[in-house]
């Protein structure tokens, strides 16, 4: 018997057309196209049921609802919770409205978020850092008192720093969906609301550590790793061990031989990977107690697409949409962090870093190319002199 054909919907996002199964959300369709058109998401986490719709950073403009009803939607829609329709036309980076709204959201989120990135453990793999780098304003217009909280240790492994929280509700969903019972919740409402365990009850559960992985900012941090090192100095290595509680497949973050921290394996969107058809959440034993190299069987270095401090892979282009960015940026090329590849010789691909005696700096190459530079300068001078001639 032939299998029933799955219904496919055609959707166009920023000029790129793709076919996705019925029931896919706009955000997931955009992720299939590639990072350049995927809207950012602060609260949506595809492995957590019911997440999304809260942070509003993924707002997109729907220029045409479907083939049957090609009217545009009156409001921007949250792409993480809106399912695609056949013939839908979505504008993300090409929509001025959506970009403007996103700038607004970043400004709102940063009102009550402290600028303590230099001492924050999340720095380097922080969704909010990434988001405000891409969509933020130069300065803030907020000039009033900001909300602050006292840091709170919830259990032996996790610290809650509520001041940094952006209330994405992901950690509550982890508690609901991965652990037996939820001991933390939201107290109060509005901008006074806070995540709390109520009378600082300790969270004690085998899978509670996953809250740290899903937290988009540094509100929930690993107490065994706090202030030990910066994320970007550590080398991620895939490893596994036999664990009776979880899949045991993790990423070790090493410096030299020392294991500084253990996290679950992340996909290009910063979410936990799906291994053998299941989300590879890890247990607290693997995460907090196995900090020796002997505990693990190393699989090899973690394959990360070439990117910098930001792990959401915006800079590796898989499919290039028909140049929408130029339109948005008034003809300017996008100034992204990884564009440094094109201009800096240190990071250019053709230099073999292993032959250098020490860490490479940009001055390393000055001497080597001195002669070339002089020639170029001469040529320039000549050109100017030529120009001056009548």
């Amino acid at each position: 018997m032939p299998e029933e054909q799955e219904q496919l919907f055609t959707i166009t996002i920023d000029g790129v057309t793709i076919e996705v199964p019925k029931g896919t959300t706009i955000l997931n369709a955009a992720r299939q196209i590639g990072p350049s058109v995927a809207p950012p998401a602060m609260c949506y986490y595809s492995k957590l049921e019911g997440s999304g719709g809260k942070c509003r950073t993924c707002l997109v403009e729907v220029a045409a609802g479907s083939t049957k009803d090609p009217r545009p939607m009156p409001k921007l829609v949250a792409s993480c919770r809106t399912e695609v329709m056949d013939g839908m036309i979505v504008k993300n980076v090409t929509s001025e409205k959506a970009i403007d709204a996103r700038h607004g959201i970043v400004e709102y989120l940063l009102i009550n978020h402290p600028l303590d990135c230099p001492i924050c453990d999340q720095a380097g793999e922080c969704y909010l850092q990434d988001l405000s780098y891409n969509n933020g304003e130069v300065g803030t217009r907020y000039e009033f008192k900001r909300r602050t909280f006292v840091r709170e240790d919830i259990g032996p492994y996790i610290q809650l720093h509520m001041t940094r929280c952006i209330l994405c509700y992901r950690c509550l969903m982890v508690a609901d969906q991965l652990t037996d019972s939820r001991t933390q919740g939201i107290l109060l409402r509005g901008d006074a609301s806070e995540i709390s365990t109520y009378i600082s009850k300790a969270i004690d559960n085998d899978f509670s550590g996953n809250m740290i992985d899903v937290c988009p900012v540094g509100a929930l941090t690993d107490r065994t790793y706090r202030f030990k090192n910066r994320v970007w100095f550590l080398k991620p290595v895939d490893a596994h061990r036999d664990c009776d509680k979880c899949c045991g497949k993790v990423t070790l973050w090493n410096r030299g031989e020392e294991v500084f921290r253990v996290t679950s394996r992340k996909d290009p969107w910063g979410e936990v990977q799906i291994i053998d058809g299941k989300a590879a959440w890890i247990c607290n034993t693997c995460r907090f107690e196995k900090k020796k190299t002997d505990d693990w069987i190393i699989d090899g270095p973690t394959k990360i697409d070439r990117h910098s401090v930001i792990s959401t892979n915006h800079y590796v282009e898989k499919v290039i949409p028909p140049d929408p960015l130029k339109e948005v940026l008034f003809g300017r090329e996008p100034l992204l962090l990884m564009d440094i590849q094109e201009t800096s010789e240190v990071n250019s691909q053709d230099i073999d870093l292993s032959i250098l005696p020490g860490p490479a700096t940009s001055t390393t190459f000055i001497e080597r190319d001195e002669q070339k530079e002089i020639e170029e300068a001469d040529a320039e001078r000549l050109a100017i002199n030529d120009h001056k001639k009548p």
């Binding site: 809260k54 959201i105 709102y108 952006i166 209330l167």
Partner: protein, 450 residues
């Protein structure tokens, strides 16, 4: 004197009791409806052109016909009695003085929708009203209008009264349903709409108290008779709760053909502005709708007199018009300060924001703080533009209409009264001791009223 459909018996002594209410012709619609086909009742409500009285004005018959009817799944009717909009108190008036009207409407509507269990979600602050309603529910049950096999028709219906905990956001229908289920009152992300997946995951209709009460005269007198009252798509009668600087604040039942001018100045209704002052501005539909200055309130931008109905109040969109909203008619006289007034509204919305989505959570607090700065004489010109920018980015970007409700009053205040904001900035000391007054609106007003 226009015809009254809801409030005609309100002054009968003892109308709160079942006995008097029944003697005055109550519960006739239940008897009539139980003999009808459910589809006919919905059709009758459709014909009446009744629009939701809670604020959005969505046609009730249409809403009822959207209700999904899968086999073997219970359907629910929920009455939204979480009336928390500042300036609106019409539902409390109905429930407090003629509670059986709501119960009668609940039974009739439950039958039409096939709901065997219905809920009245009443706001927590209305504790004495809840007692009145509960007493009325008990009476109705004793007399066989609730419970099993109502009047021998084979239709079972239970109506439960559920008290909220005092949150404005629970007036939003999906937040109400969450609260009804015993969870935190956070609005759900739509779709799915309650008509498909509402309370306990079953198809649900959520209607305002006044809407459900209006079903009673529709069934008694027929949808066509109801549709003849009023004008255009604003059929039937509407309760307006008038308050502010007027001589006779209170709840009035109007038939949507009278003009705003008549409503404010005639002795039958508000009785003019108190203390011989002049009209400055008015919020015609509860705190969340845009404020209108006197000249635009009495006449539309086209120069036609503005009427008290859905279309006329919304004439000109939100640029030169406003909205009927939930019927909370707040009148401001020449002594009132629009900046302070809007500051109060912003403070309310900051306090009541549920904190689920970021623009509303952070933006409403920001708005309040900027307002406080301007009102206390510390404002700068850039703050006015900032207010505009902040409200602009909240509106339409939130999960539920709360964000719009917080943004619209601010937008309208700046749009129509920007000079008053600027006066606050330019006269930081004077604005603490005196109000801006009528300024140039006085001229426009005299031209209209003379």
């Amino acid at each position: 004197m226009s015809k009254k459909l809801l409030l005609d018996k309100i002054n009968v002594p003892g109308i709160k009791t079942f006995e008097v209410y029944r003697r005055e012709g109550g519960y006739q619609s239940v008897e009539k409806a139980l003999k009808m086909q459910t589809g006919d009742i919905v059709e009758e409500v459709k014909k009446s052109g009744l629009r939701g009285r809670g604020g959005a004005g969505f046609p009730t018959g249409l809403k009822w016909s959207f209700l999904a009817k899968p086999e073997g799944v219970a359907r629910y009717l929920v009455c939204n009695a979480d009336e928390s909009e500042p300036g609106t108190f019409k539902d409390r008036y109905l429930m407090e003085f003629i509670p059986h009207l709501l119960i009668e409407g609940m039974i009739t509507s439950s039958f039409a929708l096939g709901s065997n269990v219905s809920y009245i979600y009443i706001r927590g602050e209305y504790d004495w009203v809840a007692d009145i309603l509960q007493a009325a529910l008990d009476e109705a049950k004793q007399n066989g209008f609730l419970g099993k096999n109502i009047l021998g028709s084979g239709f079972d219906c239970e109506v439960y009264l559920y008290r909220g905990a005092g949150a404005y956001i629970c007036g939003e229908e999906t937040a109400l349903l969450e609260s009804l289920e015993g969870k935190r009152g956070l609005p759900r992300i739509k779709p799915p709409f309650p008509a498909v997946k509402g309370v306990w995951g079953c198809p649900t209709v959520v209607n305002n108290v006044e809407t459900i009460c209006a079903v009673v005269p529709i069934i008694n007198e027929g949808g066509d008779a109801y549709a003849k009252i009023g004008v255009g798509k604003s059929t039937g009668t509407k309760l307006i709760s008038a308050c502010g600087n007027i001589n006779k604040p209170g709840v009035y039942e109007i038939d949507m053909t009278i003009s705003v001018e008549e409503f404010i100045y005639s002795d039958e209704y508000c009785g003019g502005i108190a203390n011989g002052k002049r009209l400055k501005a008015c919020i015609p539909g509860g705190s969340s709708v845009p404020i209108l200055p006197a000249n635009l309130l009495l006449k539309t931008a086209k120069g036609e007199p503005r009427l008290m109905n859905y279309e006329s109040l919304a004439d000109g969109g939100f640029i030169t018009g406003s909205s009927m909203g939930s019927g909370g008619f707040i009148v401001l006289d020449e002594d009132q300060c629009v900046v302070r007034h809007t500051y109060t509204i912003s403070r309310f919305y900051h306090h009541e924001s549920c904190g689920q989505c970021s623009p509303c959570r952070e933006g409403t607090g920001w708005l309040e703080k900027i307002f406080k700065k301007i009102e206390t004489g510390k404002g700068e010109m850039k703050d006015i533009d900032l207010l505009w920018d902040v409200q602009r980015r909240i509106e339409g970007n939130t999960i539920c209409p709360f964000g719009d409700a917080a943004a619209w009053p601010v937008a309208a205040a700046i749009r129509h009264f920007r000079d008053e904001f600027e006066w606050h900035v330019l006269n930081p000391e004077e604005c603490l001791v005196r109000n801006f007054g009528l300024a140039h609106y006085a001229d426009a007003l005299e031209a209209v009223t003379s």
